[in-house]
């Protein structure tokens, strides 16, 4: 018990230092908090059954949300590293039962100055008529070097809704590969949103793949990536319209700021049914001049204006 409390204090100290809201700790918000391969806290949420096993390099999690479960408060999880380790691996399996309506708020927190490889594999099943929102927000230190590889593979059942948001908010992104994949059944909806900022020599690669397999299924893949200094960023959005009257849209916008930045956007649209429709829009460019000038005309300096615009896009 004393060890767990000590781990919690260390996590609180290191994670709030890199920007995690303090009230997550003071108000005891975490349903699960993992530091490297140790479970620091674990509290059940109503209607959510879970099994978490510590492994030599991380944790394996199985979560089952009972059918019809509706939670007003999000289930809050944190997978982080408050101290040195070379490797952290997490494997998660989440099943959202029929008709359930839940939100997961997940924090990734890598303490200031550490260097590690983190791999995350997540399998998600959203059953018929269920709604599942998965917000994955990453906080790193400005001198943290993370090699992050995350794969999410989801099945969205009939008339179900799944939204996944991946955000990297504070600190260095490091080397990041985000791979999101979903198969969507009849009248199901999937929304993928990725918002990241790459600085210095960060490398970001985001790949969204949506298979609209069910009649009248819907899919949106949206990315906002800001690359500054010498950062490299690549977005690949693939949407496959495989079923009658399915609709998909890819919307990627990448902002470059710095002459050594390299940014690439590749929307791939494949349609296999004559009544399906998949559209895309991709924009790569500098900060919108009119936005910049508007804020400067209100008295903000150019740097302040850029910061406001970028933070707005990443929100």
């Amino acid at each position: 018990m004393a060890i767990a409390k000590n781990l919690l204090n260390i996590a609180k100290k290191e994670f709030t230092k890199i920007g995690l809201p303090e009230e997550l700790f003071t108000k005891n918000k975490f349903n699960l908090l993992v530091d490297r391969n140790k479970i620091v806290t674990k509290y059940p949420a109503p209607g959510v059954r879970s099994e978490v096993i510590e492994t030599p390099t991380g944790v394996k999690t199985k979560v089952y949300i009972e059918p019809g479960t509706k939670l007003e408060e999000p289930v809050t999880l944190c997978f982080g590293a408050a101290g040195r380790t070379d490797l952290q691996t997490t494997e998660s399996e989440i099943i959202v039962g029929e008709g359930a309506d839940v939100k997961f708020q997940v924090y990734g927190a890598m303490a200031e100055g550490i260097k590690l490889k983190h791999t995350a594999k997540t399998k998600i099943v959203v059953e018929k008529n269920a709604k599942f929102v998965f917000i994955d927000v990453h906080y790193n230190g400005e001198n943290t070097l993370v090699d992050l590889e995350t794969e999410t593979d989801a099945y969205v059942g009939e008339n179900a809704y799944f939204k996944s948001v991946f955000k990297q908010i504070k600190g260095r992104a490091g080397k990041v590969r985000v791979n999101l994949k979903a198969r969507v059944d009849r009248k199901g909806v999937v929304v993928f949103e990725t918002k990241m900022i790459g600085k210095k020599d960060d490398e970001i690669k985001v790949e969204d793949i949506i298979y609209l397999d069910g009649e009248e299924s819907r899919g949106i893949s949206k990315s906002r990536i800001i690359a500054v200094d010498q950062a490299k960023a690549e977005f690949i959005g693939e949407t496959y319209g495989n079923a009658p009257r399915c609709r998909g849209h890819i919307d990627c916008s990448e902002i470059i700021r710095g002459k050594d930045v390299v940014v690439k956007a590749v929307p791939v649209v494949v349609v296999r049914d004559e009544t399906a429709k998949v559209t895309h829009e991709a924009a790569i460019g500098s900060i919108d001049k009119k936005q910049l000038e508007t804020l400067m005309a209100r008295g903000l300096t150019e740097d302040e204006a850029v910061d406001v615009i970028v933070q707005g896009m990443l929100r």
């Binding site: 906002r224 919108d288 001049k289 009119k290 936005q291 000038e293 508007t294 804020l295 400067m296 005309a297 209100r298 008295g299 903000l300 300096t301 150019e302 204006a305 406001v308 615009i309 933070q311 707005g312 896009m313 990443l314 929100r315």
Partner: protein
Amino acid sequence: MEPILTVNNVKLSLDEKPILKGVNLIINKGEIHAILGPNGAGKSTLANLIMGIGDLKSPTEGEIIFKDKILNGLEISERAKLGITLAWQEPARFEGITVEEYLKLAGRNNPDLDVEECLKFVGLDSSYLFRYVDDTLSGGERKRVELASILAMKPELAILDEPDSGIDFASMEDIARMLKTMKDRGTTILMITHREEIAEISDRASLMCDGRVIQTGNPKEVGEKFKNMCITCEVKNPQLVGGK
């Protein structure tokens, strides 16, 4: 009357084409001054040059003086810090920024800032505070938010480029009330318009034609001149008077 802005024989050529051909204009502190003129007269170019928008930081010749400070060469934010701002005819949209945040940014140096009141003056209720300043607002709503941001900032000089365009104001009184509110709070207004009925709200008006100010005075008289002469102008509308 004390001048707040002096435009002194300003000439501007873009790609060797003369756009402003010697503009002379004095805006007095505390007045609402309309600049009236047909499309292409150089009104918006002059507004942008005063604010330093884009590459328009200095005229090719002449000076623009705000109070005692020559504006030539200054950056937009430096001009804003002196107390000048501009509301665009087509305002920018911002992803992820709420109306409340936008108004608070604009009014961050205004100790009396009341964002709800700013919205009220442009005919929007407080529910708009939580809306985003993006495509979810209609063109008219976005325009109103832009005008609210001027009220929030409370600058010494506000340049309003076509403040009525795109807004479904119920009446001319609405626009007049809003401009009067800005004026009562110490903001001098330079208003660009091509509608003489809007210009008539002002204290004084100037008529611009072909890159020059050709008349300054009573808004009714300037408006009449605009209505009677500019519509059938041989320079701008040669087909109407049988010219080439």
